[in-house]
């Protein structure tokens, strides 16, 4: 029944499981969770512990998913770090400072993300500059514009917005007083991007793009348009996280968001995506994000020095890359044996 060419089939053999790209990440997740479950005790295993790391995972996860797609396609996006404050500041100025309808503010915030993504995509496809450098450039540019316009228009580096109850409920509430609604948005993003990468034809194009860009173009894939769309998606997702934070904390600041740059890349790499592109999976990115969040939050339940958390994340990152290589070697061995 399971065809060996079908990537989506779930077979119940150890060999097949080990060949999946997220196998190594899953082992990491289980080990990390077990470690903190023992250290953190009942509170960490219960609902307070779950909501604690899920709230963290949701926000970084929404950014990590499209950043992961870009990395599978062989590109990086550093600009997400300043799109988050830019979108929330835009929404807060439009709806909070000028008092215009909240939908307009949200649209303007998301529009900023799409626009930055479009510029990134255009620069990456039209020039031969590496995307790392281009998006570092746009990150600083957007950061400067955000600070400049915030001070120029609102006269302050922090702007407030009190959302109406419906907007607050959809974008910034805590269910049961602890589970942030962002968790459901993360699930929605993951579901859509899972479909795009693993079921829609465009998914194969993304893998092809990261595998070999020139061959992909020769095969008739519209590589430039696809790259631009991927950057717009990551700009949109970062802007969306900015809006979620604005609705939750009702306060936009120009200095927020920088931590998302490295955190999102780490989640993607721990999830088994290879930096050079061409390989990875949405399930892996979700697992990597969960692992990252469990370490980040578990540390506060464990009573260990918080700096130990950073050490563990660093070690996990290296372990993930090493085990990915190991699992890939294993996968290649298995498939050659099968012929």
């Amino acid at each position: 029944m399971p065809k060996s060419t079908d990537r989506h089939t779930h077979a119940f053999s150890v060999g097949h499981l080990a060949r999946r790209p997220e196998a190594g990440s899953l082992v990491g997740l289980v080990l990390v969770y077990a470690f903190f479950a023992i250290m953190g005790g009942a509170v960490f295993i219960g609902a307070p512990g779950w909501s604690s790391w899920l709230n963290i995972a949701a926000e970084v996860g929404i950014v990590a998913l499209p950043v992961g797609l870009l990395m599978i396609a062989g590109e990086l996006d550093i600009s997400v770090g300043s799109v988050i404050p830019a979108s929330q500041m835009t929404a807060a100025i439009v709806s909070g400072y000028f008092g215009l309808p909240i939908l307009l503010g949200i649209a303007a915030g998301l529009g900023v993300g799409l626009m930055v993504g479009y510029v990134n995509g255009l620069l990456v496809t039209r020039t031969s500059i590496p995307s790392l450098i281009i998006t570092i450039g746009t990150m600083f540019g957007v950061m400067g514009f955000t600070l400049g316009f915030a001070v120029l228009i609102a006269g302050s580096t922090s702007v407030f917005l009190v959302p109406d109850p419906v907007t607050k409920l959809i974008l910034g509430t805590f269910i049961g007083g602890m589970f942030n609604v962002s968790i459901f948005w993360w699930i929605a993003f993951a579901a859509v991007i899972f479909f795009v990468l693993h079921y829609a034809p465009i998914g194969n194009w993304i893998f092809a793009l990261g595998g070999d860009r020139d061959s992909a173009r020769n095969a008739g894939i519209p590589t430039a348009a696809l790259t631009i769309r991927l950057y717009m998606l990551s700009g949109f997702a970062a802007a969306f996280v900015g809006i979620l934070q604005l609705m939750t904390y009702q306060n936009a600041q120009v200095a927020t968001g920088q931590s998302f740059i490295f955190n999102s890349i780490m989640c993607v790499v721990i999830g088994g995506v290879i930096l050079t592109g061409g390989s990875g999976s949405v399930i892996g990115i979700v697992i990597g994000t969960a692992t990252f969040a469990i370490v980040n939050q578990g540390i506060f339940f464990s009573g260990l020095d918080p700096n130990v958390g950073s050490v563990i994340i660093g070690a996990l990152l290296l372990a993930a890359v090493l085990s990915n290589d190991g699992f890939r070697a294993l996968a290649l061995k298995y498939s050659t044996k099968k012929g």
């Binding site: 953190g40 509170v43 307070p48 512990g49 909501s51 604690s52 790391w53 709230n55 963290i56 926000e59 001070v151 006269g155 302050s156 580096t157 922090s158 407030f160 805590f174 007083g177 602890m178 942030n180 934070q245 939750t248 904390y249 009702q250 306060n251 600041q253 200095a255 927020t256 968001g257 920088q258 931590s259 998302f260 490295f262 955190n263 980040n296 939050q297 540390i299 506060f300 339940f301 009573g303 020095d305 918080p306 700096n307 958390g309 950073s310 994340i313």
Partner: protein, 322 residues
């Protein structure tokens, strides 16, 4: 002829004396960018004190940098500009001692009365030979928060340090713990990893986890206004609203609303308006009348904002003074 000469000389002397008294004191104030929200309040305080100086025929001139990219050298240049423009007195912050101390030494060498304000502390004033220091002290700001919560009957405190290693943040937290201890409580520091800085969700979740693991904590201190909002969110998510009480550094509209609503106990303000007002007043009175303030180290903060005075603070915000 002789009479005429005497008359002319007398007239001249009268004119000179009259000019001297009409001139009053030319005071130069070096400060931050005028569009910086904090510095706009310092500037307003300096201008209000300047109204007295103007009534006496003097003036107050604000010198601020265009941006903060090259703060030390730019501010040192502004100090030298003030000397060149014939200042009778100078007020300045000692932000970057390495770059600015030589310029301040030139002020003192020229015999111009100097007051250090906002940054540097009484140590800088003593080192440079300035008349006084006007400003807040980080340690005492934290101390005020700890003392406030301790006196309200809270026993176990935690200071949320989102920037481990920064000297002023360590001073806030040490002050908080000492202030709480003085009122009979004990304090600790919740240190966040560097990956959490500037991320409200990370701060809120760290606070929440810490409270769940340490259920006896009933008091918290946050080092900035955004961190305070995140800390309150973490307390609410831990189901501890009403049983864990928060004080935080600085304030904004949402913090004043929280104090009114009772979800925040107090905010600590370094009261920038006072820094501008008193620094200029001290120098104006000294230049015109030779009167001095023998108290060394004029503290403008901490000012504690709580439910008892929040309405007054809101009125002050509307006037641009807070």
């Amino acid at each position: 002829m002789k009479l005429g000469k005497i008359l002319a000389t007398t007239a001249m002397l009268t004119l000179v004396a009259g000019m001297a008294s009409a001139e009053g004191s030319k005071i130069f104030v070096i400060g931050g960018k005028p569009d910086d929200p904090f510095w706009s309040r310092v500037k307003l305080g300096a201008e209000h004190a300047g109204k007295v100086a103007e009534a006496q025929g003097g003036s107050v001139t604000w010198l601020g940098p265009q941006n903060y990219d090259n703060l030390g050298p730019d501010a040192a240049e502004l100090i030298r500009q003030a000397i060149d423009q014939g200042a009778d007195a100078i007020v300045g912050p000692d932000w970057v001692p390495e770059a600015m101390d030589p310029a301040f030494q030139a002020v003192v060498a020229a015999g111009i009365p100097l007051v250090i304000y906002n940054a540097g502390g009484i140590d800088a004033a003593d080192r440079l030979g300035a008349m006084n220091y006007v400003g807040a002290v980080d340690y005492k700001s934290g101390y005020a928060g700890g003392e406030y919560l301790g006196k309200a009957g809270h026993k176990n405190g935690a200071c949320v340090n989102t920037l481990p290693g920064a000297a002023n943040i360590e001073a806030f937290c040490n002050g908080f713990n000492d202030g709480l201890a003085a009122a009979g409580g004990t304090g600790s520091v919740l240190q966040l990893p560097a990956t959490a800085f500037g991320d409200a969700t990370a701060v809120a979740q760290a606070v929440r986890a810490h409270l769940l693991q340490n259920p006896t904590i009933d008091a918290m201190f946050a080092i900035g206004d955004q961190d305070t909002n995140a800390t309150i969110s973490g307390i609410q998510q831990a189901g501890k609203a009403g049983s864990v009480h928060v004080c935080g550094m600085n304030f904004n509209d949402s913090i004043l609303a929280n104090i009114q609503a009772g979800s925040q106990a107090c905010a600590i303000d370094q009261q920038g308006y006072q820094q501008g007002f008193f620094a200029v007043s001290i120098l104006n009175n000294f230049v015109n009348y030779g009167v001095t303030i023998p108290t060394r180290e004029i503290l403008t903060g901490p000012g504690v904002i709580d439910a008892s005075n929040v309405e007054l603070v809101i009125a002050g915000v509307q006037a641009g003074a807070r």
